[in-house]
Amino acid sequence: MRRIYLDHTAGKPIDKRVLKEMIPYFSQDYGNPSSPHYFGNQARTAIDESRTSIAELIGAEKKEEIIFTSGGTESNNLAIMGFAYRNQVKGNHIITSSIEHMSVINTCKHLNKQGFQITFLPVDEFGIVDLQSLEKEMTEKTILVSIMYANGEIGTIEPIQEIGDLVHSKGALFHVDAVAAAGQIPIDVQKEEIDLLSLSSNDMYGPRGVGALYIKTGTRIQPIMQGGGQERGLRSGTENLPGIVGMGKSAKIAKSEMTDEAERLTRLRDIFVKGVIDLIPESFLNGHPTLRLPNTVNVRFNYIEGESLILSLDMEGVVCSSGSACTSKTLEPTHVLLALGLQHEEAHGSLLFTFGKQNTREDVKYVLDILPSIVKRLRQMSPLTPKELID
């Protein structure tokens, strides 16, 4: 059966060029970068090259501002917790938004139990963080503001530069979770006044289990894990050499191919959205119509439920998601859609399609061919559907 993968936010395939770059570091150049000998030097050089590629992707001033972690979740934990504990003498207030990734939300909730004050900012119906609320909430106790670059579930891109300006004008520092955005849209940490920025390798077609944290020179954080003091003492543990090499290569590829790929995906995305809205009555786009990631489409269909949509599409070879892969462990609809002001039943009826490098216009056409009848079939089963919509 033809299988069309439209769940790139849940997991991406590794780019073959990345995989090729990694292979020697498993069994030929396997040294420990902390060692002073030949093998250690090889490993250290490889890691430094990777650091440089990542620094270049996000416009960092120096490669030393990048440290490697095990992924986006760890980067977010280290940035927020590491910063909060190191700077608690200056204040105990942290501001974030209500549509952040769970690794930000739950880190903040954890800090709240340790005595920190946390403010979760509201967003508008498109998922844009409210700047006026941000300004109003900032006090002299506010040490950190953490806002995502773009949301992986609805694709909405936040006004990062404006937020950065505002945060710095009030004397706090700015952390950005760029896991969903990096490699898709340009990021410039210097221009956008970002002090800490989280990245994940797999979201850029690199291997899983590796990520990075940008720490602007002068930004003080403390480690959250104790050990041998690798990564400038901020992230102990022997470096994941093949993973780091892979992440570096993925950043390099992203930098050179991002513009063309973003253009291509935006075209596919917009054809798909228009097709869905035109072909299926009472279907709606979730998130912002234009300020959105090139690959992300979140649509909602009244009167039906997301999981039965996913199962039906899967039976026809189309793979997508109902929101974050993490929230499917609970039966609650995702917090992101609820924060947009959607009702529970509207959130339950939403589908997330995320496109990737290998998707084509034919894929879009195929999904648009099968989706209307799937929605119709489920609506015929639903006691909520008004009669005129089925007949």
Partner: protein
């Protein structure tokens, strides 16, 4: 995640639809939680001659609705009232743990429909 039996009932739901002149209707669940089930019954004498369903919900909700109609059809009211949530899950070769509580509402729906019928009969 789901058993082949669940997927079979999801793919080809049995007895899906409304009974326009139903003798009893049971409505359980809540769309806010992601599941809403309507069970319609037709009764002759003491026997369920027809059972149909309409469901808004996940794969498990649809499969359990379909299964209850098969289990209940042709049964007496007393027999049907004895069908439990566990029976429904068992006949589907099990359900994921997380779905056992929320989406396994079909037996409740059937019982509600029978009670609705008995109440109407009294009036």
């Amino acid at each position: 995640m789901y058993s082949e039996k669940v997927m079979d009932h999801f793919r080809k739901p049995r007895n899906m639809g409304e009974i326009p002149d139903a003798d009893g209707i049971g409505s359980v669940g809540n769309p806010t939680c992601g599941d809403l089930m309507n069970i319609y019954i037709k009764v002759k004498g003491n026997v369920l001659t027809d059972v149909k369903f309409k469901t808004f919900g996940c794969g498990a909700a649809i499969a359990t609705s379909s299964m209850i109609t098969e289990l209940a059809k042709g049964k007496t009211l007393d027999e049907a009232l004895k069908i439990t949530r566990g029976d429904v899950a068992e006949n589907l070769d099990g359900l994921p743990k997380i779905k056992m509580h929320c989406s396994n509402l079909a037996a409740d729906g059937l019982h509600a429909a029978i009670k609705d019928y008995l109440k109407k009969k009294e009036e």
